[in-house]
Structures are given as structure tokens and as C-alpha cells.
Symmetry: C2
Subunit: 421 residues, 2 copies
Amino acid sequence: MRIEIICTGDEVLTGKIVNTNFSYIAQKLEDVGLDVRWGTTVGDDRETLLAAFVEAGERADAVIVNGGLGPTVDDLSQEVAARAAGVDLVLNEEWLQTMGEFFRRRGRTMSPNNKKQAMLPEGSEILDNPIGTACGFAMDIGKARFFFTPGVPRELRRMLEEQIIPRLLAKSGAPTAIRLKRFHCYGLGESHVDALLEGVEALVPDGSAKLGFRAHYPQIETKVTVRGADDADIAAKLTPVVAEIRKRLGNFILAEDEETLEGVILERLQAENASLALVEMFTGGQIAARLAPLPGAEHVLRRGLVSRDLNELWDALHVMAPAEISRDGAEAAAEAARSEAGADYALAVLIELDDGPDRIDFGGTICLAIAGADGIVDSRRSRILGGREWVRLGATELGLDCLRRRLYGLPVTERIDFERT
Amino acid sequence: MRIEIICTGDEVLTGKIVNTNFSYIAQKLEDVGLDVRWGTTVGDDRETLLAAFVEAGERADAVIVNGGLGPTVDDLSQEVAARAAGVDLVLNEEWLQTMGEFFRRRGRTMSPNNKKQAMLPEGSEILDNPIGTACGFAMDIGKARFFFTPGVPRELRRMLEEQIIPRLLAKSGAPTAIRLKRFHCYGLGESHVDALLEGVEALVPDGSAKLGFRAHYPQIETKVTVRGADDADIAAKLTPVVAEIRKRLGNFILAEDEETLEGVILERLQAENASLALVEMFTGGQIAARLAPLPGAEHVLRRGLVSRDLNELWDALHVMAPAEISRDGAEAAAEAARSEAGADYALAVLIELDDGPDRIDFGGTICLAIAGADGIVDSRRSRILGGREWVRLGATELGLDCLRRRLYGLPVTERIDFERT
């Protein structure tokens, strides 16, 4: 089945906003085994929209159109869709009522121009939007089934998942039962993960398990999709695959599915009823900023200390120590921070940057330590190269990941691919 | 002149990476007064690429193609471009030599498959890439001039600015002298800025000044482009426009052109040879993280303290104060942090979040204060609504912007559009 995506709107076409809706739709379709073949971006202009709809209708089997369903004069999708299909726009009483309810529940009055949002091409099928006034709809243009979606990301997401993907899977004739399983890793490069997982797809002999990777430094995501006749069939296929991936990627799996690194750290600290102190230098508060905004962090993140200057850190922590970073220094900083804050754990990430201007091989030496109320202090020394920002991102992730490892009883000093000696 | 953009590559088409190259190209063209009319995204597939090139060649006057110039087998742009134009691929000795130099200077050996990068469609014009091995080139396909660019963002950017935009401006026949001036604001919504600047374009009677806005919460960027016969003409037109914008947006302009909020703060502190201490709660280290990674911040950012819990803050700062936030409390926190760290200035941003789950009208009450070595303490109380993340972003920006105002002698308590009472 050939699927295309048409993104509409001057803000997207002029680059005023980055088109994250496109990548979202494409990824969601890939997750259920559907491929996008062509993407088109056009502005709020009748002739251009018409040309885009007609061309896609000639080429594709299914087309997802994003944007242009709002109440204002530059929202043209319904009007141009009707023209492309040679049908009239007609008032959809059902959606007008739905919108009326929507405004009443919020104690607001519907403005007259919202009525435009209930004008749909004759014969089109409504795609429900439970969280907005833009009515999604499906209709045929040329030989393709078109699905019109709102530009507001959260409305698009819900409509895509609940309304459109089931229809696309039914249309594609593929087994509609499919499951996506995701693993998040830190410390392995994409080619390394790829090599480690060689042959895993073959654990499902009928070819219905597919592996994919998405590297967004410093983390890499591994995705597995499995298709089957029904949930039981999928579970039977997925179980050995998941077990094998967990075995091969091992300690490097920091979270699965919707979990995050900071989330699993917070969860474990909450389960232990434990508190945390942080000491940062070049990461500059970014480690604290990953944890602090999470609900519940107010009871866990006892204290964070940031300074770019090591002597200033020693002053703040009331520690006498040399003015250069070392594993010993990191251990002293973690122990002092833990004791000053009265916290159960403390993570200290000390960094010494290379001299000179930023460049591709600019690096930093990282000494980090984790102290616990049990008296055990773990520490490691690493060098990360790749420019100031790369070092900052890498050190933030390394610090958080070592904390995760300590909390979950895993080795803190396991070598990672991004380290240089 | 009708301009189109074709983005190629499976990683973009599948949404594995978000297509920021597209928005970058479109914005850069808009900045010089050129409009993009159509965008196409296709994967690394010969037939699809060919169709995309041929269609764009029929519709457009100029086409920018991004990606597919690398050395591997899935980099197909040169090959398909030659096919679309009905010409042969020929070895470009000049580029082969350039690549040879490139590798020699880096002490590396050129791999045989790099030779593919010097195979260009017959008759094409080289677009220099001084920082990579992908050779840009221009050629005609159909009735359009095609410009082929590398997918690596920094290579694309340099080639677009140095090689392609001058050619497009020459082709468009528009006066090639154009200047872009940008203003960054915090605290004003887009419609408010739009209203404040009404009539400013008319200060240049021939219509050659254009205003545009780009809101990326919490900041909003105002752009002015002015065209003219030459630099002197542009300067004469731009001067009154810039003066008027500065007058109307006044204290809300936090930076211009390439400057950033954190950058102007650091610059001023450096000029005063002054140091800074920070106290954060729900912003969680994000204020520190904006300043800390900047070169030179190591001599300025004396100490940052983060805690989600107010009593913990009072402990850390050795202050006796009530367990609820207030302007008085913020002032006490700023003064204590300044004195503890021995810093010239301290900013304290205290936040009390609403109870309950995250929702669109979830809010936070912010009390912030700035203490200085001159004994003056400024403070303000604000409420920001819009969900947890909105509050966090808004409070970070509000804190930094109030610090900027204090450092530059501007009123710290000026009302902003995002505040609720």
C-alpha cells in the first residue's frame, strides 16, 4: 500500500515552525509496519493545495493531510478537498452539535466562524477529535483514501492512533495485530547495537519481527515490531525476542517503552524512600534539571550544587582538596554533598575541559562518584571528545546512567563506546 | 520566481530524524526575500527520486535538493540527476583533487568509494564545499535550475549562504542587496508585538522593508528585511526602522541578531568583572544550565543551588524563614546566596506549584529577587499558567530576563503578557 503525507500551512512551508508532525506520523506508521513513500509540504494557497491533493490522489492508495481544519480564512483543507473530489461542502449537523457541547462544557460561547469547521465535503466520514473543534474526516480523491487531520500536535496524535491507523491497517490487509516494544540504551553506538542484535529477527522464523534503531545522542532506541494473527500469537513471538534483546544489551538497557532514564532513577529512589544530592560543574545544572521537574522529585532531590570552578565547589562543600579533578576528588565531593544535605545518595560529576576553542575533537575529562548511606562510594574516570556541547550532553547522560546503575546494583564502571582514553 | 525544496533520504522520510534542514533552508530564503512554494520529501529510491526531480523540473524555476551526495550506495542524487537531465555522469578531476587535498590535510587516506563523490552529471557547475567531501553542484533539469546540497547541516548551511543564495538572487532579478535585522523579546505575545509595530513597514515608503515574527515560547523574534540598491541605500532605509522598533519594543528587547539572553547577561557581568550566585526550585537547575556552558562562565557563575523544597533551601542557605514563598523570602534567599558565595549578584527564583495533576490551566506562583553588592534588592511576584512545562520554561526565562533588566538598569517589575493575577 502506497501512503503519502501532505503537510499544509504557511508556518511549516516557510520554516517558521519545524515540521515535527511529519516525523511523528511517519514514525507512528513505521511502528505498525506501514511505510510512507512520499511527503509534500504546501502553504495555505488554494491552487497549490488543489494540485497537491490531485497529484497524491493519482499516485497513492492512502494520503494523510495535516493542517488547515481551523476556523480562520486561511484554513482551506475542507474547501479544497471538496473541489478536488468534485463534491459540495455540506454542513455536518452532528459535528456542529459536538462543537456546541465542546464550548458549553468549557463555559464558552461558540463564535460564528467555528461553524466553518463543521462544513465537510459531501459523503465524507467523520474522524472523531475528542479534544478539539477541528473535525477530522476521510474521503476519496482520485484513487486514494484521504485522511484529514488537525495541525495541533496533541489532536493529531490522538486521531492518528485511535482513528486512522486502524483504518490503514484494515485497508492494507496486513494482520492488524501488531505490537511495538522499545528499549532505550546509553553507552552503545548504533552500529554496535546493530551488531550485538544480529540474528535476533530470525528468532521469529516467519519474518514477522522487525528491528529498527533511532539514535538521538547520547541515547539510542531499539524498536521491535511483531505482527501476528492475534494477541496470543504476538505474545508467543515477542517473548523470546524480548528475552534475547535484554540478554544481549544487558546493563545498557536503561529503560523500556515509555520509561525514561530520569524516571527510572526517581522511581527507584522513591521505592527506597531515599533522597539525593547532586554536585555539577560543566553539566551546569542539567543533571538536576532532568530530575527536578518530575512530579514527586520534590521529596527526593534534596539539594543540587553547581559551579564551574573547582575551588568554589570545595568552599561550598567545606572540603580541603586539590584544585584539579580526580576520582579521589569526585569521591570527596560526593561524600561531602551527601553529608551536608543529609541525603541518602549523592552524585558528583566533576569535569575538566580541554583548553582552546571549540572544535570537533575538543574534549573533557570527567571524574564522577556516587556516595551512599551504606558507606560505599563508586567512582569512574572517562574522557569524552566531540566538542563542548557533545561533552556536556555526554557527561550529563553518563552521570545519570552511572547513578541508575548504582541504584539497580549494576556495575558503574562498565566501558562505553563514547569514551576515549 | 518559483522555488521548491526536495529533501531526500530514508531517515528523513521515515521520521527517524526531524527535518530541520527544510525549515533552515526555507527560513534563510525568506530572510533574503525569496519564497519557497513547494516541499517534497522522498527516500533513497531511484524511481521515486527521478519522479520528484522531473516533477519539480516541470513546475519550478529553481529547486534545492538536500542529501544523497555521500559516498555510499544509497546516496543516489548525482546518478538520478544525470538520468533526469538525460546526460552522463563524468569524473570531475577538479573535485577529485580537492578531495585528495582534504584527506591529505587530515592525514587520512581517501577510500576508493569516495571517488563516487566526484562523479557529476555532465555540464554541471560545482558548488564548493570547503568543509566536507560532498560536492555541491548546479544543473538544469526541465525548465528549472537545480542546486544539489549535502545533508550534513553545517555543510548545507555554508553552501546555501555562500554559493546558492547569491545565485538565486541573481536569477530572481531582485536587488541583491538585502539586510536582515533581528530582535529577540521576552514577555510579549505575537499579536501584541504585531500591534506595537503597526505602521513600521511604512517608514520605508517604497515597500522594501518587511516585518516578520517567529514565536518560540517563551521568546519571540521580530525580523526586518530591507532591500535596496546598495549598502548605503539599505542603511538609509534601515536606520529609522531599527530606531522605531527599539523605541516601541523598548525594554522588552533582550538581544539583537546573534545575541542570546544568557549571552548578554554574561557579557555584562564580565564587563563589570562581577560574579553571580543562583537559587532555584522548580526551574531545577535550568537557569544555571543556560549560563554555565558558555565560554567564560567559569569566572562568573560562582555558585548555583537547586532544591525543590523550600525548607531545604533555608537549611542550605542558613536562613530562618517561613515555609511558604513570598517576595520577602525571595529577597532573603538572594541576599543569603550572594553573601554565602561571596558573589556580586544573586538571583533567587522561588516557585510554588498548584496542587493536582498537570493540565492546561495548571499554574505556579513565582517570587524572584535579585540582590547586588550595592545593597539593592529587586523582587517581583508573578503567576504563570499553562501546565507544568509551560510554568518551568516561563519561570526560567522570567528569572533570566529580570536579571538582564537589573544588570542593564531597566525596571525589573514591568508587566509581561504571560502573567496572570
